[in-house]
Assembly symmetry: C2
Homo-oligomer: 368 residues x 2
């Protein structure tokens, strides 16, 4: 992988603004790290899969800026996005006597990013952190926008904080080591930006999905950049999700039910979101907001990205009931009513409630 | 206890501003709660000591505003200010399917307030909460200003968040049930406001300390109000402790070492702070910032409040070394250097480093 010029997407959030740098081989370009807050120590948090690939390389570059760069290696996977893993970070910070100036670096996918960000939000009531996402999903979604947190046995991401990073560095070269299944999972979040905000981008994706599956540099670079631009635009208007930002959860209400119902880690988050978007699109159709042709078009794109488009059966006796039960715990719910992100005319998303009977029909039609 | 008119101290923090209501019997005055955010449910968090005294009473009043008012009872004491206790709150919130509008109420002392506030900061990345402090210490210090958190085995309040309450209700009538030792602990934080900010208030305290020890309503009301006013003034200028706010930690660096060294809960926080102020005053004297007469004057006031003025021996072999070791973990430390809050001329506090040898002399002079 070479070529594709580096670029920068700014996130405009007043005094919490920061840049996203996107390009190949950025991790080892020392100047990328030059604007960071000064401190005696940095703590690099990563996982057992990513550590052997990139941890020492990043540590070496950071040592030109920090006297000490400690490494914390967490177990890999959504199943470990727990308080126990989070506490490994706090243990290391305190054992190394890290002060309030210490900068945390999240090197890995969404799980590492969410936990490192939450640790940074809470350690001594807040220290700076930097996202260095090494998965496609983290580069286009989770590492941007400041959502951090851990799972609770009764719900995903139920404990967390809004804590913006000081910098996001998307080194596209790290994607070369990504399994195909995780590339597809990342494509789910990229595809999402089309129907909710930019149908021109959706058209581009339909033309370029094979190149993206093959990680072709030019296509990859454009897809990551455009995704970050759309996310930046949404987050810049509604940092703490009091309204608009919820549209970024298109496909996530059904998706979270799939993840929770199967047990975290059975399906990748992006896989659940991919399938969840098919279900949410179908719900939009049944609410009379889009036509069947659009649903089919989105379904085809998701399938071509290598993602599941048929929902799993979570309960043999009352599958739709189980989906409903799990979705009532969604953070967008209010007073027991589930609020779905629907497509309200192509390229535009909205938050809507839906009658249980209608949701049941959608679940029945989309699962087997 | 009667008389002493209710009053309100405003905390001015832009969109995070809120009032502190102070008075006798406020808890049962329904209008006190009328301005709160609307929600289907409230969760009242308290502890095993306070629950039998006030929980049902507060629940009854809140039920005029919320359809459901769930009660969570935590174990009592600093030793339980842990993730496990915090998780009891998350468990209850999720078991009751509480949504993002749910309001949390902290009914109790500083430990309940810090944990409830931190749970509110993290649940679904932030829900509103209300402080209903029932100890003197919480009324004049911990319930005001938005510091929340839990302890880590390696340090006090090391994991937490800044999360401002929507309202603070100091019902002075609840202090009647407070053990004398806890009244004294609260007086420590009240006394603190004199030397760091208001020597006129210190003079008033010297005249009124017996009335305060006896919980005389007029004196109590004035002391709580003036303490909250000074804290409001400081927090209003430096919400997240990037500078000035650190002066509120006068006595706390030595105090935290005492608490951690003896094991949390052996000395009450206010007792450790009382003794810590004597040590910090002595340090100020040895740095040439105040004279011996002032140190003696402060020591006498602290002693008359029923507080310890002689530090405990934490290590028979190297007591001063143990204090230094524990104090290096203080959140105000930077790159291993302890930064002490000192009195820099009476009525004015500052942040200073001090040579280890000088700190050792202070510890040796103040402990036995």
């Amino acid at each position: 992988m070479t070529s594709a010029l580096p670029c920068t997407v700014p996130i405009a959030l007043g005094e919490r603004s920061y840049p996203i740098h996107i390009g190949f081989g950025l991790m080892e370009q020392a100047e990328v790290w030059g604007d960071l807050p000064r401190a005696a120590a940095a703590v690099l948090v990563t996982n057992t899969t990513v550590a052997p690939l990139y941890a020492q390389r990043l540590q070496r570059v950071l040592l030109t800026y920090y006297r000490h760069v400690h490494i914390v290696v967490l177990p890999d996977g959504e199943a470990f996005k727990t308080w126990n893993s989070l506490n490994l970070i706090f243990d290391a910070l305190l054992e190394q006597a890290c002060d309030r100036q210490t900068v945390l670096f999240a090197l890995g996918g969404g799980v590492v990013g969410d936990m490192t960000g939450f640790a940074a939000a809470c350690y001594m009531r807040g220290v700076p952190f930097v996202q260095v996402p090494t998965t496609l999903l983290a580069q286009v979604d989770s590492s941007v926008g400041g959502k951090t947190g851990i799972n609770h046995p009764l719900g995903k991401n139920m404990v967390g904080a809004f804590h913006q990073p000081a910098l996001v560095v998307c080194d596209l070269a790290t994607l070369a080591s990504l399994p195909a299944r995780e590339v597809s999972a990342g494509l789910a979040e990229i595809i999402k930006y089309g129907p909710i905000a930019d149908m021109e981008f959706m058209g581009w994706l339909e033309l370029n999905i094979p190149q993206l599956v093959d990680l072709e540099p030019q296509a990859l670079s454009h897809a990551v950049r455009r995704s970050c631009e759309i996310k930046a635009w949404v987050v810049g208007q509604d940092e703490r999700e009091s309204g608009l930002r919820a549209i970024l959860n298109f496909g996530h209400t059904f998706g979270h039910a799939i993840e929770a119902g199967l047990g975290y880690g059975q399906w990748l988050h992006g896989e659940a979101v991919g399938c969840g978007m098919v279900m949410a699109a179908r719900l939009s159709q049944d609410l009379g907001l889009v036509d069947g042709a659009f649903v089919q078009r989105l379904r085809t794109l998701i399938e071509r990205a290598g993602l599941p488009v048929v929902g799993p059966v979570l309960d043999e006796n009352d599958n739709a009931g189980r989906y409903l039960q799990l979705m009532r715990q969604d953070k967008k719910s209010q007073a027991g009513a589930i609020r779905f992100v629907v497509i309200d005319g192509v390229g535009c998303a909205a938050l809507r409630e839906a009658p249980d009977a209608l949701v049941r029909r959608v679940v029945d039609a989309c699962c087997q």
